[in-house]
């Protein structure tokens, strides 16, 4: 009996020692500033480079990486709802308002006010439209870190072979919807059986948003005002005409693959393999295309519709936010300042993996050197300043789901974009009204 008691005690002691060791381990880990982000392997390397430089300059602030899974917003919400919110969080322009509204993200204005020199310099160097993307209900919930707006990649060899003129190099000198369609038609090749062997245009982004991008290039806007709108302009004829033009590329003109055509080979792979002449995408595809063997490409602007006055990309931007319940706010602010400020932005520019958001980094020799293989560099450097906005509202996830359902028949060519006018704007208004 006595022996068994001793055994039990030994067992309990052992468990105690193990538990204490585990707690000590947790404690050591908890001292680090946790940084949550989503990235493909190359992007993760670029971020590690920024973290390494930050650690070199701030050895007293260790940083622990929390790499996201396939659905970063959901993962972030789960962490934060469970009381384990990472200190620094990557923020997306369309999804951050819901987190800000729920009090997950810290309003950075107070920290910015305490750091007047940095804030003044940042404002001077920032592109207002990008900075304001993260301004919501009077608070500043993130500092922009990279621009991920969309533009067109084009295969220079295919253009030359088809004798199609080189598309524009600047947003200020755009081409028209008609010129774009004509180029796409000239670049679409069919075999004797009628099967397409080369597409004129492929979309590697989200079809609903891409349709909206063609709409904004047709002189329409998603909404007015940008933040907390109560109405989206889906009843605007110019907007719907832009959507229709985009839908017709696949459904009527057959210069772009339908969802069925894209099942066998992703649209990104079609362009990378030289089986598509133009691809709508953001800079996040640049490295994939640059690594594709035998692919000669350059970048160009979106075409301008008959009602448009200014060709534009979209304000796709990600920023860095701080968790409202972070116990390491000051360290987190140092990190955000570093990554979104001139030093981090210069590193981003040199890496060539993102488009930085500060004018100084955009115009830097490092960014130009990282993009030597393209000649139309102004499409990237002037892109952030030529970007139309998407709505900033906490109700976006619901609107997104509704748009996805409603645009389907239009993109399949079963309904016209004009038919959306009947019910969709009212349904969206109801969601925005409830929000």
């Amino acid at each position: 009996m006595h022996e068994s008691l001793l055994d039990r005690r030994t067992l309990l002691r052992g468990a105690g020692v193990l538990g204490a060791a585990a707690l000590a381990g947790c404690d050591r880990d908890d001292r680090a500033l946790s940084f949550f982000f989503a990235a493909n392997p190359e992007e993760a390397d670029a971020r590690r480079r920024i973290i390494a430089e930050f650690s070199r300059r701030h050895p007293d602030i260790p940083v622990r990486i929390v790499l996201s899974g396939p659905d970063p917003v959901q993962q972030m919400s789960t962490f934060c709802a469970g009381g384990k919110c990472p200190d620094v969080l990557m923020a997306w322009e369309l999804t951050y308002p819901a987190l800000a509204e729920r009090g997950v993200l810290l309003d950075l204005n107070a920290l910015a006010r305490d750091d007047p020199t940095f804030t003044t310099d940042l404002h001077r160097d920032s592109i207002a439209a990008l900075y304001d993307t993260f301004t919501f209900n009077g608070g500043q919930y993130a500092l922009p870190e990279q621009w991920s707006g969309n533009f067109l990649y084009y295969n220079t060899a295919l253009f030359a072979a088809a004798g199609v003129p080189t598309p524009p190099a600047r947003w200020e000198q755009p081409w028209t919807f008609a010129e774009f369609l004509s180029a796409a038609q000239a670049l679409t090749k069919r075999s004797a059986s009628g099967a397409v062997s080369q597409w004129g245009f492929v979309d590697t982004w989200v079809p609903t948003y891409s349709a909206g991008l063609f709409a904004t290039n047709n002189g329409a806007q998603w909404c007015e005002p940008r933040t907390n709108p109560t109405h989206l302009n889906l009843d605007d004829d110019a907007f719907l005409a832009g959507v229709q033009f985009y839908a017709d590329l696949a459904a009527t003109h057959h210069v772009s693959p339908t969802a069925i055509d894209a099942q066998s080979m992703s649209t990104m792979d079609l362009f990378a393999a030289g089986k598509a002449a133009m691809a709508l995408a953001g800079h996040w595809r640049y490295q994939s295309f640059a690594r594709a063997q035998g692919l000669d490409f350059d970048v160009t602007t979106l075409p301008l519709g008959p009602h448009g006055t200014q060709a534009c990309s979209n304000i796709g931007t990600t920023g860095l936010a701080i968790a409202a319940d972070s116990s390491r706010r000051e360290q987190a602010w140092e990190f955000v300042k570093f990554a979104a400020g001139p030093v981090g932005q210069a590193l981003i520019a040199d890496s060539g993996l993102f488009v930085p958001v500060l004018r100084s980094a955009l115009g830097s020799a490092g960014f130009a050197a990282a993009h030597r293989r393209i000649t139309h560099l102004p499409v990237l450097t002037e892109g952030p300043a030529h970007s139309g906005y998407l709505p900033v509202t906490p109700a976006w996830p619901k609107i997104d789901a509704l748009l996805d359902r409603s645009f389907g028949p239009v993109l399949r060519g079963k309904r016209t974009a004009m038919s959306l006018k009947a019910t969709l704007p009212q349904a969206i208004d109801r969601i925005l009204g409830a929000a």
């Binding site: 959901q74 919400s77 789960t78 934060c80 709802a81 819901a98 729920r102 009090g103 997950v104 969802a259 069925i260 055509d261 099942q263 066998s264 996830p397 619901k398 789901a401 996805d404 359902r405 389907g408 028949p409």
Partner: protein
């Protein structure tokens, strides 16, 4: 003697309670508490970040006004019927075929149970390849008999058919196991007597097998209905988190997930979960009642 025996019984009972306690605690923490909490949440407006606000039955009333609830319910009923009926019919047939003393039947039995061992998500990913319009196995096979390619997962009309196909493929092994076990319990003399009376194979199946496995059949129908009604993982992987294309595969499981994790409306999602529970409870009760009436 009796005092000593009762003391021993008490000690045993006490020890028994102690042994059961950890499991009971786990049941309370991981089953009873979440169930109770989700019922509480269903009467609140909650996003799990801000304090929950009590809204009474507003979430339940909102469900009745939500046009998407009607769509999700209709899709779920179609999916349930489209998967449970074929599952039961096919598994009855397969169980009937496997319930024979033939050489090599054990190999066939093993093969037919393989889908049971495959994870639902892995299975859905494999089916995505099978359903590919241009290069998918299914359309290649249809091409052999001169049928044109079917846009299985892309066309709203075919997407639900695709889901039902996968669900049947996944559900048949389990149903077959249960029905086969029930068939194995039927007295061989009954078949022998029927054979002597001149009953053919089909007649024996409908007159002897089917009535005698009614209990197992009822169990299979209930379990398959519950499983189909709660479908989520295979829909999520095959046609996406929005239940597309358009709203063709927008079932209750997807609606629940979308409201909870996409929109942060946990109160509303919990109300939906309890409505699903109530519907299943009624369906199961009706089925059990019918079975009892038939047995009596």
């Amino acid at each position: 003697m009796s005092t000593r025996a009762s003391a021993l019984q008490r000690r045993r009972a006490h020890a028994g309670r102690l042994f059961v306690l950890p499991n009971l605690a786990a049941l309370l923490v991981f089953m009873a508490f979440p169930l109770g909490y989700s019922l509480y949440l269903s009467f609140t407006r909650s996003d799990l970040f801000r304090p929950a606000t009590f809204v009474g039955t507003a979430n339940y009333r909102h469900l009745l006004d939500d046009p998407l609830f009607g769509i999700a319910l209709r899709n779920t009923v179609v999916f349930t019927l489209g998967s449970v009926l074929p599952t039961v019919v096919i598994s009855l047939g397969i169980a009937g075929l496997l319930n024979r003393k033939l050489k090599g039947i054990a190999v066939f039995r093993t093969i037919i149970f393989v889908p049971l061992a495959v994870s639902a998500v892995v299975m859905a990913v494999v089916w995505q390849f099978v359903f590919n319009t241009d290069n998918g196995l299914l359309n290649i096979m249809l091409g052999w008999v001169g049928l044109g390619p079917v846009p299985w997962l892309v066309d709203p009309h075919w997407a639900m058919v695709s889901l039902c196909l996968v669900s049947v493929w996944k559900g048949v092994p389990f149903a077959t196991v249960v029905l086969l076990a029930a068939m194995g319990g039927i007295d061989e003399n009954l078949y022998e007597a029927a054979r002597i009376d001149g009953a053919g194979e089909l007649r024996r199946f409908f007159a002897i097998t089917l009535p005698l496995i009614r209990g197992a059949l009822s169990f299979v129908v209930i379990i398959s209905t519950i499983s189909a009604f709660q479908a989520f993982d295979q829909v999520y992987v095959l046609t996406g988190g929005n239940g597309g294309p358009e709203s063709a595969t927008y079932v209750l499981g997807i609606m629940l997930f979308q409201h909870a994790f996409g929109f942060g409306e946990f109160g509303y999602a919990c109300a939906l979960a309890w409505v699903m529970f109530a519907i299943l409870l009624v369906l199961t009760g009706l089925q059990l009642r019918r079975s009892r009436q038939e047995n009596s």
